[in-house]
């Protein structure tokens, strides 16, 4: 059924004649009624193609000598008519998304509910109490992201930003063995940084983008994203400063995910709600970070403890995945399926 679905969407390129067009020279604007003098002024100022003009803000165009505000208005209106301006149909986007890389988590149950694994180009947030497996998933992902795409990986390095000091390379060696990778090389491909305060955490992202421009990364882990904010900003008085800072951090993460096509995984802490007297569930937990955190993460996963070494993961917020639960286990060699499933 999946292939029948794909057929209408793949192979529809003929309709879009906007693609693969050679850039238009700015002289083409003359056809739309712009005078030759004006187009000459544009090309003298460095705008040689209609595309360059269309994407320039009006204020910048007005700085060109001889182009008044009305002229800039008209030029932009005509230029935007000629150039597609980046709008694509949902159909194209859908066919592009079918090529999206998912990074396997190591557990088939988890991968299934996530639609193949952790999505690249988006922020996935894991939250849960202590000992629910957040850091363990991060350690496993740090290795699986290096696998080739055919095996469910991301074919790229991993950047691990640690704020709580829970980074244990020995866990990663165990996972590497499971997939048959060379332990040394795997550790070499993980760039590790320890953040000491919220500002430093933000600073690290600047270096991160420099590193990502040089070699191929497929995953960025921040474990945990909010613990430093909890200690650096205290009290109501600093709440708005904290949220602004967090918003900026998350926007930078989103930009990195977009620009370099990496998967971003952040872990979050929870706070207990003490006055849950009304509820049937005695021990309700809510992730911290407020509305800013909630809106920035694309997918939110709630982890809780099951029996023994098994853990339950539930999708809480996702743009396309329905609410579903999966059971996974923390084994010696990383995240995997719980024993009962294996026996079947």
């Amino acid at each position: 059924m999946a292939s029948q679905e794909q057929d209408p969407f793949v192979g529809g390129e003929g309709e879009e004649d906007f693609d693969l067009m050679a850039p238009l020279l700015v002289a083409k604007l003359q056809e739309a009624g712009i005078s030759a003098q004006d187009t000459k002024k544009l090309s003298d100022a460095g705008y040689h193609t209609v595309e360059a003009v269309a994407f320039t803000p009006k204020k910048t165009l007005c700085t060109i000598k001889g182009i008044s505000e009305q002229k800039a208005d008209k030029i932009l209106t005509e230029a935007c008519k000629m150039v597609p301006m980046g709008f694509t149909t949902a159909t194209e986007m859908h066919s592009r998304r079918s090529e999206l890389v998912h990074i396997t988590t190591g557990s088939t149950g988890l991968d299934t509910i996530l639609g193949g694994g952790i999505e690249t180009g988006a922020i996935t947030e894991l939250y849960g109490e202590f000992r629910t497996g957040k850091s363990q998933i991060c350690h496993t992902l740090a290795v699986t992201c290096q696998l080739p795409v055919s095996m469910g990986g991301g074919e790229g390095k991993c950047l691990y930003i640690d704020t709580e000091g829970t980074f244990r390379p020995v866990r990663m060696l165990a996972v590497a063995e499971r997939y048959g990778l060379n332990g040394e090389e795997v550790l070499d491909n993980i760039a590790y940084a320890r953040a000491y305060n919220a500002d430093h955490q933000l600073q690290l992202l600047v270096q991160a983008s420099a590193m990502m421009a040089e070699s191929r990364f497929s995953l960025l882990i921040v474990d945990s994203c909010t613990s430093l904010y909890r200690t650096d900003f205290s009290g109501r008085g600093e709440l708005s400063a904290r949220q602004m800072h967090l918003a900026k951090f998350l926007r930078t993460l989103m930009r990195l995910a977009d620009e370099f096509g990496i998967a971003v995984v952040v872990t979050n802490q929870v706070v207990a709600q003490v006055d849950g007297g009304q509820f049937a569930v005695a021990d309700a937990k809510k992730p911290i970070g407020g509305n800013i955190m909630a809106h920035a993460s694309t997918t939110r996963l709630n982890l809780r403890k099951g029996r023994g070494s098994s853990r339950v993961c539930k999708i809480v917020d996702s743009p396309c995945l329905p609410e579903a639960e999966a059971i996974f286990a923390i084994n010696a060699n990383g995240i995997g399926d719980p024993e009962e499933m294996k026996e079947q």
Partner: protein
Amino acid sequence: MIEPYLHYAESTTTYEPPSIASLSTSSILFTPLPRLSDLLKVKIPTAQLYVRQVSHAIAPSTKRLDDIYDQEQNTGIGPSRLPLNVDEDDDIDTDKKGKGKGRAKWVSTGDAGLDQVLGGGIRRGCLYEITGESAAGKSHLALHLALTFQLPSLTSSPGGSLILTSEREISTDRLVQLGKHLLSIHEPYEFGPEGRVKNLLDNILTNRVGDVDALEHALNYAVPAILESRLNPNSSRINQLPIRLIILDSITALLRGGSSDHERPTAPNALSLAERSKHLCIVADALKALAVKYDLSILVINQVSDVFQRATPVSYSQPTSSFMQTQPFTGTVNVNDNPDDIAMIYKTQSRWFSGESDTLKKEASLGIVWANAVNVRIMLSRTARRRLVDQRDLTSHKRRKMENHLDKNGLEKDEEEDIKPTLIRRLHVVFSPFSAASTIDYVITSTGVHTLNESYRKIDTTSEVIKRQIKEEKERERSQHNFNSSQIDPDDEDEEEGDEPRVDWDEVFDDFGELPEEFWKGEYELGTINGNESTGEPNSVSDQVSHTGYSDLLVGQNGDSVEGQSAVDSALGDGSGVDGGSLGSTEDST
């Protein structure tokens, strides 16, 4: 185009005055009289006469509202004078004042309950705002509408959509899934819908806008260009519809993430708030101009901020850490000096339009400027209630007891897959020119957004606000007298319950679906439920149905957090992006 205002420099250098006939009407009307009379070499009264005559000649004929209304209904031509497709079946529906598709300006949402709460559907030419907490279903509702706008059975003038995204790309998988279901419900044909789903997606255009400047640039140039190009039917593209819906998802993300990248993010100060208001006005104006000119609807998605209970009104305390380096904008009025000014504080005014309610302690972001710019505000929220709902036909089920589980094993299994504990969500029309303030409950299933029958409630905003104010004052008194209180006063809660009509269905508090499967099947392993030992009887839990949300109890009951007087309260003067979901600095767990 000749500039209407005639400068001296542009007039002819000869001494012959130009004749009146050589001037354009706009030149005659816009040039001030003294200059006009100079130019034409006539006296001022004569120039006045010319102006009057020209005005009479070009004035449009006036119309009565009745005539305009009838014209719209019958011929389906909107004020923008763009001809809309007229459905032959319209003749039947034009007499009805109801929500038929014959009403040319209205687009049905495909769901009767939604149409009812919105006053007929989505109206073209208006700016709608959908706001709500995360995971409430805002983007999903926008996708749903982007698809229903294209179905000819729901509107007399189907059209495509333009989606501008600021945070993440649209979820095309869900679009495909929804498209299939909507087609099968509203336009079932014999052959499979795959090709037609592609048509639906072809008519949805999308693009990313990175920041506010990019948005303004797009709204001024790129979007009009696309709208124009889609108006002219292009023979090479069959099934291409004009654009009838523009969605902006979301506007808050553009204005929250920090103004410029090189500055350290600081608390919002007066300057940044003023700049934000400027951007909001520009964007709102541009959107509304597009809505009117091209006869389309605009949907803007907004986010929420938390509302804090204040022990005392507006005060400000010094921050204790070095991170706060600028004074935040307090926007306060010292109430003690001038008690009349309490009406001017944002918090007092926002009670009417912010979307805050008894059950939801959150308000729409972006403050009063944005609230005044939108025509309709819709607030979506997740209630904490879950109900067993059959996903196919949306009938509600009661939880079964253990005995039934063992009989007819095969049959039980089939039914169980479709009957799931589904989260009930609430759609609250905060204000709208077309419908009363009201709420309706809905669920999201694989087939889309479905409202639940019998859940439509009208709200009397005035009495709600008064009730809330009385409650707040009681809270304030209580917190002042009773510093150590963190218990919910049971008497107050009973008052709350009286407002909500009793529901017969088994609804349980389960916001994130944490109750185990066994619970829904009728066996309970939970320790205690509201102080009673679990008896395995469903009645003990269904008695607890009442309508408060999580944050209601978190904020305001915890004595510590409420007493703190803070800058945040005053910075909320404009309802700017201050969020703090949970403040439990003492109850941490990692």
